[in-house]
């Protein structure tokens, strides 16, 4: 059901905007002079020299974790691709010669589609994919730049020693 909202009629003083503009200017200039003269309690941050500290649970660009022998932890189980609501993970699985049997020959994430929900991280049974790199995915000029490959994701990766099921040793 639509709800009727009461809109009070604006009088001439309000419709001229002049008193409101002046009131806004007063706030702006007060901040300006206080910052300029005292440099205390400054609310703005001087980006990019200074960066806002993200909370630890910030979900940024993905990284693919590594095993102790520096190989990729991912076993190409496709659970992340299954869980992904944006359908942006494309994996090709291949055979590896050691006891881990299966690994991703290619692993692509399409950042045009990714919504950084973290479902992939949640679904992964191997602690192989994480969104905790702390970095944004930087924008690019072409669509190709927005699709990161296994090598790009591994470059940000680190060692994980999680046991199956994600329990730390």
């Amino acid at each position: 059901m639509a709800k009727l909202v009461d809109r009070p009629k604006a009088d001439l003083v309000i419709r001229s905007y002049i008193p409101e503009v002046l009131r806004g200017l007063r706030v702006t200039s007060r901040h300006f002079w206080v910052n300029f003269l005292t440099r205390k309690n400054v609310v703005t941050i001087e980006y990019p020299e200074e960066k806002y500290p993200y909370p630890p649970r910030f979900r940024g660009q993905h990284r693919l974790m590594k095993r102790e022998d520096d190989s990729v932890r991912c076993v190409a189980c496709f659970l992340c691709a299954t869980a992904c609501p944006a359908d942006c993970i494309t994996i090709k699985a291949g055979e590896r010669s050691d006891k881990n049997e299966k690994y991703p020959v290619s692993f692509e994430i399409d950042y045009i589609r990714c919504i950084f929900c973290g479902m992939c991280e949640e679904a992964c049974p191997c602690d192989a994919i994480r969104l905790d790199s702390g970095d944004h995915k930087l924008p690019g000029y072409t669509r190709e730049e927005e699709v990161l490959q296994k090598e790009d994701l591994l470059a940000k990766g680190g060692l994980s020693i999680a046991k199956q099921g994600g329990i730390l040793q």
């Binding site: 076993v75 190409a76 189980c77 496709f78 659970l79 299954t82 699985a93 291949g94 055979e95 006891k99 881990n100 049997e101 299966k102 049974p125 191997c126 199956q164």
Partner: protein, 516 residues
Amino acid sequence: MPTLKIDGIEITVEPGTRIIEACDRLGIDIPRFCYHPGLSVAANCRMCLVESNRSPKPVPSCYEMAVDGLEIQTKTQKVIDARRAVLEYILLNHPIDCPICDKAGECDLQDLYFAHNYQPSRHAFAKFHKPKARQIGPQIMADSERCINCTRCIRVCDEIAKAPQLHQVNRGGRTYIDVFPGTEIDHPYSMCVSDVCPVGALTTKDFRFKCRVWFTNGTQSVCGECSRGCSIRIDTYRNEIQRIMPRENPTVNQFWACDAGRLAYHNYETDRLQSAKANGQPVASDAAITQLATALDSVASGARVLVVLSPSMTNEAAWAAIKVGQKLKGMVRYAIGGREAGFKDDILICADKAPNRAGLALVLKTLGVEAVPLSAALAGSPQAIYIFGDDHHLEDVLVKAMDGAQLSVVFSAKDGPLANAASFAFPTMSPYEIDGTWLNEFGILQRVRPALTPTWDARPIEKWLGALTTRLLDEQIADDPAELFVTAMSSVNALDGTPLAASGLDGIGPFGIALK
């Protein structure tokens, strides 16, 4: 006829029925691993235990016969506890490597664990290790740690393929399935062991790591590799065939299919004819049709015309082809091409390697058309040749005859000598992309369904013919398989007497229709 009670429901069954079959008939769910309706009973997994009034202990329902006065309980605490305990033992040494297992998603052990056990392992000791990731035959990979020793695979080899190539080695918890030393599992039905394996212990080389099963879409269709026409399910993902699985059909193939049929889809993955061709050069589809229409006018009315039909065409395409043939100028003769006869056994594989020779004969008969032997027809040096299909074993002879003809038209899914030698070649659908019906050697009419859509302008034969007749003739010939089916089968009755045309193409059930 024994009458028994299951969970208080009375049921009368034929003598010799197992309790599990009676339960299935009542829709009562009994978990199972080793029981398979197409195999002998082994009763070694004990997953199917139920309580009986004739025994102090739970009994395996897949083994015990239904007898008069039996009272079976399937939902008591004792049964629930038994199932949970059986699963705990089965999972004792299981590696739980579902993330890399190709069976995950359609694995009975996964499903039954969640339904009947669902507790963490209490096994505190190191697990037994057995051989993993071994290739034990050209098509089969074995992972013995996942095996639950149900022996279904052994029974498939022994009883269905009649090739006893698998056996169990070792004892107790270290038992696993193996081939005999120095041999491999290489009989023509070897991939069936992976179908019956309730876990991922035996998987196929072809499907290994290709796709997760939950992504695939199954299309119910028919195999075109021999005249039995096994019922199959074509599993596709993103418009590519991932694997072909046999589909249950009691009158055709029971539960099985041969390896050759399941791997045949690779033939149509490469070398496809991707655009219409005129004299070997690609042209736009519309232009090719216009040019062909002009070329047809120049054929003299007394010319010798040969139409080569393929026994792999659907009945609908064959009907349309002959209908158009009857409208062509000249003295039109028909011949049947197709693959050479080959290996046969008395299990499934038939010598005739074409899926629809019987159907083609039926269509020819309905239309009152006689087919001449291909070699005789070619010896008469035809002036115009129309070739349907791409699996003619006399390909070089056909190419020579086309070189001598004034006009040659080819409808083919594959690029190759035929398409290049033709005055006009039109890209058609592969057997995995067509819609229509095939009639097998044993008189079972089955529906072939399209599982894929080509990304180029390939069309079914009847659509090309439809487009051609709109240009050429004042009369439009139907180009829709459903319409063609009704016309082509208007005088054909099913075995039980019902006319086929009444039910239509969509009236053909999953098991097909037996014809007279």
